[in-house]
Amino acid sequence: MFDRKVPTYKVLRDREACTNCGACVRQCSYGVHRIDEQSGKLVADHGACVNCQRCVLMCPPRAIAITKWPQVGTGSAVWTPDHMKDIAKQARTGAVLLSSMGNPEPYPTYWDHLLLNASQVTNPSIDPLREPMETRVFLGSRPVALRVNTRQHAVISDMPPQLRLDVPIMFSAMSFGSISLNTQRALALAAEELGTYFNCGEGGLHPDLERYANNTIVQVASGRFGVNPQYLNNAAAIEIKIGQGAKPGIGGHLPGEKIDGEVSRTRMIPEGTDAISPAPHHDIYSIEDLRQLIFSLKEATRYRKPIAVKIAAVHNAAAIASGMARAGADIIVIDGFRGGTGAAPKRIRNNVGIPIELALAAVDERLREEGIRSTVSLVVSGTIRDSADIVRAIALGADAVSIGSAALIAIGCHQCGDCASGRCNWGIATQDPALTKRIHPQSAAERIVNLVRAWNKEIEEMMGGMGINAIDSLRGNRLMLRGVGLNQKELDILGVKHAGE
């Protein structure tokens, strides 16, 4: 009664259409559906439903629909039912509330306030169907000036290692443990097929994925799980994870119940123990210390791999990014506050960090002001929902983007936001073999490849419409953007004019 355990969702069953086949019972890991022993009829435990919609889509006669529980909420615009439910849960457990996926609160989404330009009459548009369009991107640091031997047509400058992306889209870091191995396999296969990179996250690299080394970015986070010289060298690049958009400023706890045999082997920790990533790297307390870690990784890989550093988009992102560039990072990765996660404390996810659009604009501006933007690459993530968001990000100054949620949605994720429970009915955020086999790596990879290829075609079309035939000419080209419904301060930070100007 005190716990306000009113169900969130209600399972509607069309009794006429239902054939009592029991598919819903088999599909639901939450035990929502069961056959009542006395009546022989299918019944539902509404309170257990998380609205992942697996049963809805797997029901052969389409007899199931999920609605909101019809009870009207009490309270007010201030004391919402959600707040009261959280208070009740914490009054019962005394615990920190956990949540999953990105910030769901209705903060402004600046992507939706940025419109793209197109050529009319002058500077004619380009038809990507019959003219070559360049969407290839190279990531890594670059010398301030390029020295060329003109007689031999050769570059003399010492070129730092570069990552070649055939599409300006990579896959965000998602660890084995937070997602299933089959999901990682799908991402690896897709990255190989597309000529881009997947990121194994901070949970080590499973031996089955070592063959995708040329398309792998390995992560070094504060817990240093699975990090050894073989891991560092079996990758195209290394990413130091300082922070993540969904949980800036804190580390991570993968609970012991998710550390099964395979996860244990990959993270190189005993089964069943908590995998704790401390909030800071305990060898980094300053930009100088970051430089030390960057160069220790460069030494360990003989300067053959670009080193990326990932931070969450926070208030001082621009100054921090400047420090990162000067510390020797080859690639700066910034993750916005709407970026997804397998698990994050709810208050952190919902309240900490800033939108990626503002962070990106501020970082690019700051690096250009300081004259160092061209020496380093910039990658952003945190709610890239479609190809237009990518065009906006690149026009604001990004070299490339990473997608996490979008890639998962392509293979079944319905954003129910219950990843932390480990019971994902779509086989993505779970280690339960009965569920993980629902992801078939090859066909899932095919869907991700289709998505990225389609987006890339759309990027070509939008660029062509602007009269641009190479993505390099779009980068930082904020004249291609106009704001709508933004105040002057927002326009100034984004560095764009208002529509009509």
Partner: protein, 246 residues
């Protein structure tokens, strides 16, 4: 950088930059298995990812992150070392004839570090073990605060006194001490347990190795056996199991 005489197994680093110094060291180690470094002036990353079968003897003062990602090689320092020795080391052995700075053995997963004298703060932080990988740190002197913070596995043997905040967040492994820590120094969730027979064997083995490394160099008496030791273990391998509600 000058190379002394024609001897292939001795390199003098002088004030050369770490990148140049480490490149020379790696080149030299392609030809020889044992290399002596002289006039070392705080070059970082010495012995970084040094593989099995390779040995460095260091005279002078190595810089930070010595033996980072060490991968089976052995390093002996005839002097003191700075911060973060054995950072994320995987296997191998580090012997310091002196003291060392902060965060020694951060996240180390295997191998052993023997420190003759004191160590700075946060030694053994996030140390972890996995199957046959059982990392060991032996500290002959005192340890700074936060010894064994977030420790998830392995063994720390401390002959001197620990600082404050001992074993904060420890959830695996074992720390052997000679004196019971004061209650305010010891973090919650840590249990002081009596030694079992296997602990005694373990401690005596490590004392024997410490003695073999440093006998004749230390003035204080090295304990002869495990009698005066006690052990700290975490009360739970899941210290944060009830921290969160989904």
């Amino acid at each position: 950088m000058q190379e002394r005489d024609t001897a292939q197994d001795v390199l003098s680093l002088g004030t050369s930059h770490f990148r140049e110094a480490n490149e020379r060291i790696r080149d030299q180690l392609e030809r020889v298995d044992r290399l002596t470094l002289e006039e070392v002036f705080a070059q970082r990353y010495l012995g970084c990812a040094l593989p099995q079968g390779k040995h460095l003897a260091i005279h002078g003062t190595p810089g930070n992150d010595m033996a980072a990602y060490l991968d089976g090689g052995t390093i002996e320092v005839f002097g003191s070392a700075q911060d973060q020795i054995g950072n994320t080391m995987n296997d191998g052995e580090v012997i310091i004839h002196g003291r060392c700075g902060d965060a020694a053995g951060y996240a180390m997963r295997g191998g052993c570090i023997f420190i003759r004298d004191d160590c700075g703060w946060r030694a053994g932080i996030n140390m972890k073990e996995y199957q046959d990988k059982q990392p060991i740190i032996v500290i002959g002197g005192d340890a700074g605060s936060f010894l064994g913070e977030y420790m998830a596995g392995g063994t720390i043997l401390l002959l001197g006194n620990p600082g404050d905040h001992l074993a904060t967040g420890m959830h695996g492994g074992v720390i052997y001490l000679r004196e019971p820590p004061s209650t305010h120094a010891l973090s919650s969730g840590i249990t002081i347990a009596p030694l079992a027979e296997e602990d005694r064997v373990r401690i005596e083995q490590l004392l024997g190795r410490y003695r073999a490394c440093f006998a004749g160099e230390v003035r204080a008496n090295i304990p002869a056996d495990a009698e005066e030791f006690l052990k700290l273990v975490p009360a739970s391998s899941r210290p944060y199991a009830s921290l969160y509600a989904n």
